[in-house]
């Protein structure tokens, strides 16, 4: 792909990259920076083979830029404090509100019909964005690392210095919260 074609194709991806970076970093300026670096790296490199989608390729570059940014942040103690402490979002008991005292669902998960139909609707992805933004910051960060950037669990544990058990709890909480948010804001309407 010629450089001019590539730069024209990159522009529409910018919004998506910014959304992912914001969820990860919760820092507008830093998110802008990593997206900028990602687009520059994409233009400079010739790594795009056309085998994967452009977005998948860019997500791969963004992943590295975000991991670098997180590493850099963790080395700066004052910023690290503001970055939040993962442990504070670890309390699994919050979600016991979803269950009765005998561990049964209360309320029970609703029937979602054919949820796959939602995937083709632009509006559904907007609702998904809103639900992701409502998650506690570190919970969102871990979930996006896992499900959007597809980092392996041991990579995430290493980057954020949390145990595998902490990671499972955080991902569980993220899924429970997203499930409820989607149910209330999308599936309940139909």
């Amino acid at each position: 792909m010629a450089a001019a074609d590539l730069s024209r194709d990159l522009e529409p991806q910018r919004g998506y990259l910014l959304r992912v970076a914001r969820l990860q970093l919760r820092d507008e300026a830093l998110a802008e920076d990593v997206v900028q670096e990602t687009l520059l790296a994409a233009l400079a490199g010739s790594g795009f083979s056309g085998k994967s989608s452009l977005r998948t390729w860019l997500t791969g570059i963004l992943k590295h830029k975000i991991v670098d940014a997180i590493r850099k942040k963790q080395r700066e103690p004052t910023v690290a404090a503001a970055f939040g402490d993962v442990e504070s979002e670890m309390d699994i008991e919050d979600f016991d509100a979803m269950f009765n005292e005998r561990g049964g669902w209360d309320p029970k998960p609703a029937e979602w019909g054919n949820p796959q139909d939602a995937l083709n609707q632009r509006q559904f992805l907007d609702v998904m964005d809103i639900c992701l933004e409502r998650l506690p910051p570190n919970t969102a960060r871990v979930f996006v690392m896992r499900e959007v950037m597809e980092l392996e669990t041991d990579e995430i544990c290493k980057e954020l210095t949390i145990s595998a058990n902490n990671l499972w709890v955080i991902l569980y909480r993220a899924r429970m919260a997203l499930r409820v948010c989607l149910e209330q804001n999308w599936f309940a309407r139909t």
Binding site: R55, W112, L171
Partner: protein
Amino acid sequence: MFRKAVGHIISCKDASRLVSRREEAPLTAWQRLVLRLHLSVCAACTRFEKQIAFLRDAMRQYRQ
């Protein structure tokens, strides 16, 4: 009756945690067994299991 009793060796709360954990790491043989038995008698958790699988697909779509 027996099936129902065996299915409730674990609660829905425990089953939901196993369903989520399975996304990250293989379960032990015992966890797989008790989860399977639970899902075979619990419509709510079967629904939850489908929703978690959908969430994974949805995030893939989000990336595409």
